[in-house]
Symmetry: C2
Subunit: 308 residues, 2 copies
């Protein structure tokens, strides 16, 4: 009972994070269910709906107490058509009509967005973005993801490919080959995989990025050069985003950002080196704050602003 709430889902390859939130973005309840990728992912919608209604019941409320549901999903989203493409991890065919199917199953308005964009909205609203409407998020994980928020809303671009920050070219000549088919993408040098790539190019080997950071801490000169180079490329990409969009904050998250100041201190210097002075005046680099909750908080924000 009481105040109306927002619903949120963050659909991933192994689990679906779900939550109810207040219209201020406070989490009322959160839970997750496994992602059933069998049969081309066709059971996912009904699983979400069943779980959603069970949890509503536990709170003694019904769908009528929910304003709308925001959903983040992997792969480029077409928020107008309500479809998701390229969600190969989940098994959905291109143009899967997620919005329509969930609206039928939940009997509620549903709004969808790419999952990295939802995370960016979450950090903008209740995380490191601190409500600033112009925020760029960069997530350094196995790959590099991103989201661009301008005046409080995601920039989706023409076919949902905006915010592909991991595919900004930072090594235009003789760069490593990227999964996308291009060469020299930010992802090839600033993700966990990229850091190992750079270390290999130094003629050394490490099982993972964490090991490279550990060796740098122990004084390994090659590992130190790799981290400086990673900060250099990341600073170049962020500086050029700032020259284009003039945001208030760039929020850096994901596993690699957990390395902390050893990466973020040189990053700040490089961002300053590559950013137009007037844009630099108002820019700050922040560490992401919401961790795994960013996605559901951003999805709830989407549900909120789309129903205003």
């Amino acid at each position: 009972m009481g105040e109306k709430r927002l619903g949120a889902c963050d659909i991933g390859g192994t689990s679906i994070k779900m939550a109810f939130l207040t219209t201020e973005g406070d989490i009322i309840r959160k839970w997750s269910i496994p992602t059933d990728r069998s049969e081309g992912g066709l059971n996912i919608v009904s699983h979400i709906a069943r779980s959603f209604n069970e949890e509503l019941e536990q709170d003694g409320v019904t769908a009528a107490d929910v304003i709308a549901v925001g959903v983040g999903a992997p792969g480029p989203a077409d928020p107008v058509e309500g479809t998701i493409s390229g969600a190969v991890n989940i098994g959905w065919e291109n143009g899967y009509p997620l919005k329509k199917l969930l609206e039928e199953a939940l009997e509620l308005p549903v709004f969808i967005e790419n999952d990295a964009n939802c995370a960016a909205l979450g950090e903008m609203w209740r995380g490191a973005g601190n409500g600033a409407g112009d925020v760029v998020c960069v997530t350094l994980g196995t790959g590099v993801g991103g989201g661009v928020v301008s005046k409080g809303m995601i920039i989706t671009g023409v076919n949902g490919a905006a915010g592909e920050i991991g595919h900004i070219t930072v090594v235009p000549e003789n760069g490593f080959l990227c999964n996308c088919g291009k060469k020299g993408c930010l992802e090839t040098v600033a993700s966990a995989t990229g850091i190992v790539n750079l270390y290999k190019a130094e003629g050394k080997d490490a099982p993972d990025a964490r090991t490279v950071f550990e060796r740098a801490a122990e004084g390994d000169a090659a590992a130190k050069r790799v981290i400086d180079r990673c900060a250099f490329y990341l600073g170049l990409a962020i500086g050029n985003i700032a020259n284009t969009l003039n945001p208030a904050k760039v929020v850096v998250g994901g596993g690699v950002s957990e390395a902390g100041d050893v990466l973020l201190a040189p990053l700040e210097q490089y961002v300053r080196q590559f950013t137009f002075p007037r844009a630099m005046d108002v820019l700050s680099i922040e560490k992401a704050k919401l961790g795994n909750d960013a996605g559901v908080i951003g999805a709830a924000y989407l549900a909120k602003v789309m129903t205003v």
Copy 2:
């Protein structure tokens, strides 16, 4: 009489272009007056108002027949406060309250924007952008200017420094020094000045960019390398903008773009090389169409959308 019209000004260092337009963006009448930079540019507003009213009278209409007036001015604009900063060419102090002063003088609603952003809006609305809401404009002149349009509106950023495409860093190491204080900005290698810079770095000398293009046409190998390199850097910047914003069109204008296919053909190849495949699927590179009218047409668009 008849249909209501839009007013538009494009304030430059030597002249102020003015126009009346229909709400569809057709120019009813256009004219220009010299820019009086004496006394810190303090006569400009009254000159605009006098000229504007004289021209209205010639058409047998009054201010009541004007919906609103859009104004482009050099230097970063704060559209909310209605102020212009850094218009050193004109003599205005930082934070010059152009909107307020013009509204008092014209007794009409006035909306202001940076001049390069107005030109981008003009090309988006009635030029090479052809009404596509997601358009990036790059103007290659003495410097390199730009404007970013998303969903039909300019992205201004936090303090009006968005769209500083000329200051995207494309030579992160050992680049030429730029007027902005940074090194390796796009402007240092892709403007008219930049092309001469690159030619000098080849150990050759030319009085202007036009001469470099002429020598390339005559088979000068250094001049050909310079043009290829200019296209490479421009393609890198445009590709990375596309990876960030996923626009439908990138519109290239300004004097240097008049060189035509000798620059634009390699540019297209480099844009393809540096753009994420999904973003490339929907992207086209277009030559600007409106020439010197882009500014007033975009200013009129601004006046139109701000009063809807």
